[in-house]
């Protein structure tokens, strides 16, 4: 058995490549969004007025703050303060769960109004509005899945930190998880204005 070598730069490079693929994955959806916005800008305008800017804005603040805690947790571990690192990670996970709860409330309200993929109500709306909601569910849904994955990853990293597998001298797993989390945050920062503000 060959001993696994530690390659800090390699691990970071691999992570960045993975993040590129995530950007491209969402890129396909952004492409669809821009094409349909161009075609149905009035319908998009009407449909977007039904989205709750307050809930969306609150989620934006939650996610940005969680990214801040994430960054602090890495610094804490680099300074050798494991307890503080764990506390900050727990805060990050909590905020991620808060984001998801908020999102669930928002989706639920839409469902209550008969707005969900394939619903009668949605079919009766102008086609551009149906496309808008399809994009809304596809993009925030895919993003939500990424947040959920983030909760899983960060919880797993917390276990690794507790067990000392991730520590002051070897923190690349924590750092890469942080990169992932910032990307999830960044994607939301684009989703928020596209759906809630600019139409």
């Amino acid at each position: 058995m060959i001993e696994a070598h530690k390659d800090y730069a390699g691990a970071k490079l691999g992570m960045w490549l993975f993040l590129f693929t995530e950007v491209v994955l969402f890129g396909g959806l952004f492409l669809l969004y821009s094409a349909y916005l161009h075609r149905y800008h009035l319908d998009f305008h009407h449909a977007a007025r039904n989205l709750d800017t307050f809930l969306g804005g609150a989620n934006t603040i939650i996610l940005i703050t969680s990214s801040f805690f994430m960054a602090m947790s890495i610094t804490a571990l680099q300074l050798g303060r494991r307890g503080r690192c764990l506390g900050l990670l727990a805060l990050t996970v909590l905020m991620a769960l808060g984001f998801l709860a908020n999102k669930a409330i928002e989706w639920w309200a839409k469902f209550e109004h008969g707005i969900f993929p394939g619903s009668e109500h949605l079919r009766a709306l102008p086609q551009g509005e149906e496309i808008f909601y399809s994009l809304y569910f596809a993009m925030t849904g895919l993003h939500g899945i990424h947040v959920l994955l983030g909760v899983g990853i960060l919880s797993f990293v917390m276990i690794l930190v507790r067990r000392g597998r991730v520590r002051q001298e070897d923190f690349v797993i924590l750092e890469n998880s942080g990169l992932y989390w910032h990307l999830v945050d960044l994607i939301w920062i684009f989703l928020f204005p596209l759906f809630y503000l600019i139409t």
Binding site: G10, G14, L31, L32, R123, S134, A138
Partner: protein
């Protein structure tokens, strides 16, 4: 460069023999040794290739005469769809990079393994999962998918066949391909041995590098596209359905934004194999090393900008047609650069004709025919005439089977003695090559003519004026099948009872040939110091 001998007590069967404590299947399917993973891929790819060939033969048999009813129309639709899905996503895309790339990349750059060995094993498991899901889609639900491998909407959303499962297989396979690409890029950046500068990389490694970037940057687009088809079918989301305001053209754009670069995922590694084989059998340094390496990167980047030439008849602005047609002609230039450099390497070389070189020359012939006929379709005006006819079927089989396929066979014959430590029968291999080359041309060349006469692709039946060409084509498929059978039998016999090959039977100069055949589990006993390039052949006093 230090020559590494067999380590004391190491098995003469190298990585092929299992350590004492772990044997059998488990020591293979859970191994993180890049060579074992590469062989696992090779075994899976060749098995699925056999399945794809069988489907192709059935199709050709059905088309042998007009009015033939060997297959029901719906079955025929399923057969060409499954043939395409298996051949494209399970065979050709992983073909050379996942098998020979895995086996050789660390050896070529003087490394112990790839950067992320466990991720590498995970990629193979994903590949296997994708293959199983694809098979499930064929045999369960209400019939095998019948959309063609392109899954064009709106038909793919409305058909009752098992498209939802098939697109999930494609999604999983895409993920496997991405992770392999990610692993290779990191490996090439991080794990080159001391002295292995970028300009001492073998051209095979350069081609893997360019391919890996395409895998990483293009595949996610396919991922999201098939995911949306899945969401439309299962979650009732409406994004492409024209009945709900969607635009099927956007699907075509997204699909080809991946699937055109994907043909470079298919062909670039084969070009790398060719670039590594030719200098060995011409006993001469490669001509134009820099340009070949550079043209791989050019193909990868410009190739990402030509996707809409698949859509000239779908409805686009004239300006878009013009731009994409122009870019298509541009991307032909780096391919031509490679061909000229290979021919210049052969020119005045001390040529030794061995099976790997034969397959290589076959590649150059087939790829040239396929590439030049590609330009006919790249020209927007001519494309209107030949679009969706047998002409395009002939074109891409020349490029993909004649190119990537022969490139893969060349790689199999070139690296066979290194991987198995034995040699196949070279005369039989040469005979198999000639039969395969004849079969391919008899099978596919009539399709060019049929296409120009107006025979549309994917049609179940045809009028009598196409009968002659169809008959010749079917006879060609039998010749090809015989050639393939002979080739695989010969290689199998070589594995079983070939003569010992020695560490370097071809006199090649890349690093893997400094190791014993087969290479030991940990590759190099000590990481080599590289002092010369990959094509500096030993007894040549003029250099170094």
């Amino acid at each position: 460069m230090s020559l590494t001998g067999i380590k004391a007590g190491a098995s003469p069967r190298g990585f092929l023999s299992s350590p004492q404590d772990a044997g059998g299947l488990r020591s293979w399917i859970f191994s993180t040794d890049h060579k074992r993973i590469g062989l696992l891929y090779l075994a899976c790819i060749l098995t699925l290739f056999a399945a794809g060939v069988a489907l192709g033969l059935i199709m050709r048999l059905k088309l042998i005469t007009p009015g033939n009813d060997l297959l029901a129309p719906q079955t025929y639709n399923a057969v060409f769809t499954v043939h395409g899905v298996i051949m494209i996503f399970l065979v050709v895309i992983p073909s050379i990079p996942a098998s020979f790339g895995n086996i050789l990349l660390p050896l070529h750059i003087g490394a112990e393994d790839v950067s992320f060995p466990r991720l590498n094993l995970f990629s193979w498991w994903l590949y296997l999962t994708g293959a199983v899901v694809a098979l499930v889609s064929i045999f369960t639900g209400s019939g095998a998918p019948d959309t063609g491998w392109t899954f064009y909407v709106p038909f793919s959303e409305r058909t009752t066949t098992n498209v939802s499962v098939a697109v999930m297989a494609v999604f999983i396979l895409g993920f496997s391909s991405i992770l392999t690409g990610l692993n290779f890029i990191t490996t090439i950046h991080q794990l080159r041995a001391p002295g292995m500068t970028w300009r001492r990389l073998s051209l095979f490694v350069w081609s893997l590098y360019a391919t890996a970037w395409v895998q990483v940057l293009a595949t996610p687009i396919l991922g999201i596209t098939v995911l949306l088809v899945f969401a439309e079918r299962v979650l009732n989301l409406g994004l492409f359905d024209p009945g709900r305001g969607g635009d099927p053209l956007l699907y075509q754009h997204l699909f080809w934004i991946y699937s055109h670069p994907a043909v470079y995922i298919m062909i670039l590694p084969a070009m790398g194999v060719i670039s590594d084989i030719i200098p060995v059998f011409a006993r001469k340094r490669i001509f134009g090393y820099n340009m070949i390496a550079f043209s791989s990167l050019t193909i990868a980047s410009v190739g990402s900008l030509v996707w809409a030439h698949h859509m000239f008849t779908s409805g686009m602005s004239d300006l878009a047609v013009l731009v994409f047609s122009f870019l298509t002609f541009i991307v032909a230039v780096p391919s031509a650069i490679k061909i000229f450099n290979w021919l210049s390497t052969l020119y005045k070389g001390s040529i030794i004709v061995e099976p790997p070189l034969l397959f290589t020359l076959g590649f150059i012939w087939m790829f040239s025919v396929g590439g030049l006929t590609g330009l006919i379709q790249g020209a927007a005006g001519a494309d209107i005439h030949v679009h969706d006819t047998y002409f395009i079927v002939a074109h891409f089989h020349y490029v993909i089977f004649g190119g990537t396929g022969l490139g893969m066979f060349a790689a199999m014959h070139f690296w066979f003695p290194k991987i198995f430590g034995r040699m196949y029968n070279r005369r039989t291999a040469a005979a198999a090559f000639w039969i395969i080359l004849l079969g391919m041309n008899v099978l596919y060349f009539p399709m060019f003519i049929l296409g120009l006469m107006g025979m549309p692709r994917r049609y179940y039946d045809y009028p009598a004026q196409f009968a002659q060409g169809q008959l010749i084509s079917t006879v060609g498929s039998w010749i090809l099948a015989m050639g393939l059978a002979l080739m695989f039998y010969n290689l199998y016999a070589g594995v079983r009872r070939g003569a010992a090959a020695g560490p370097n039977p071809w006199g090649a100069a890349t690093l893997e040939w400094t190791l014993p055949s087969p290479p030991p589990s940990g590759n190099f006993a000590e990481i080599p110091e590289v002092e010369k390039g990959p094509y500096d052949f030993a007894p040549d006093p003029r250099h170094d």
